[in-house]
Amino acid sequence: MGIESLLKSNILVTTVDAVVNWGRKYSLWPMPMGTACCAIEFMSTLASRYDMGRFGAERLSFSPRQADLMVVAGRVSIKMMPVVIRIWEEIPEPKWCIAMGACASSGGVFDTYTLVQGIDQFIPVDVYIAGCPPRPEGVLDALVKIQKLVEQDSIKKRK
């Protein structure tokens, strides 16, 4: 004799989490930390052929204040790493991070004195995309994975 049977079928009962997550999932504002070749491939994902707009993440926010998702697209040198860390801290919770391409995930082909071998040593990365540069379909698949993570998020955990 739950509440549902009282309300019959004309009122939908849901939790605040489900509504908030559903809203956030389909309107992620990515912050493109585009440094190198992966940024060009990220542009292809946004352009008309592969069209990230179908997934709701088309509106780029270059200022971290309104971003939900940081996409580190390209290799990160030791001079750029403090900037990436600072911008990651400036993004308000809840936030997610994608390491796009081999260079951001693990330093890629450049094992040199000036390249950070993978940004996950310093900032928490949720989804890695393999490829150098990954195809736009790979980026879209990573976005769908991030949307699944956004679904499981909950207000209680964050308090």
């Binding site: 204040r65 911008i87 400036e90 308000p92 919770e93």
Partner: protein
């Protein structure tokens, strides 16, 4: 008489409820984690050199003032236009009245023009 204003009241109430509702909702639903870096101004990823509250040229302030003056002038035109149709049949006075109002402001406009308040460089 009061009944005509009911829709406006409903609009105001709805706006008030919606505005403060979303504020309260985000206050309870949104997380708040303060960190020192999050409080600093964002300057493309670099620690800002100096505070942005700095004395810059006065021309920005003057242009803002001029805008307000002439904007208010337009606001006064609105009610005049609404009632213009009915009253103009009784007499031409309403038209003269507005011409005088606009003329006074035109004098101010030419004075500013001569003083060079509009040169930007």
């Amino acid at each position: 008489m009061l009944k005509e204003y009911l829709p406006i009241l409903i609009l105001l109430v709805f706006a008030f409820v919606f505005a403060f509702g979303t504020l309260l909702l985000s206050h309870f639903v949104g997380p708040r984690k303060y960190s020192d870096v999050k409080g600093e101004p964002y300057e493309s990823g670099i620690k800002p050199f100096m505070d942005a509250r700095v004395r810059f040229s006065v021309k920005f302030y003057i242009i803002a003032m001029l805008f307000i003056i002439f904007d208010i002038e337009i606001v006064f035109l609105y009610p005049w236009v609404v009632v213009y149709k009915e009253i103009v049949s009784q007499g031409i006075f309403i038209f003269i009245e507005m011409i005088v109002f606009v003329a006074i402001l035109l004098i101010g406009y030419f004075y500013l023009w001569k003083r060079g308040a509009f040169e930007w460089e």
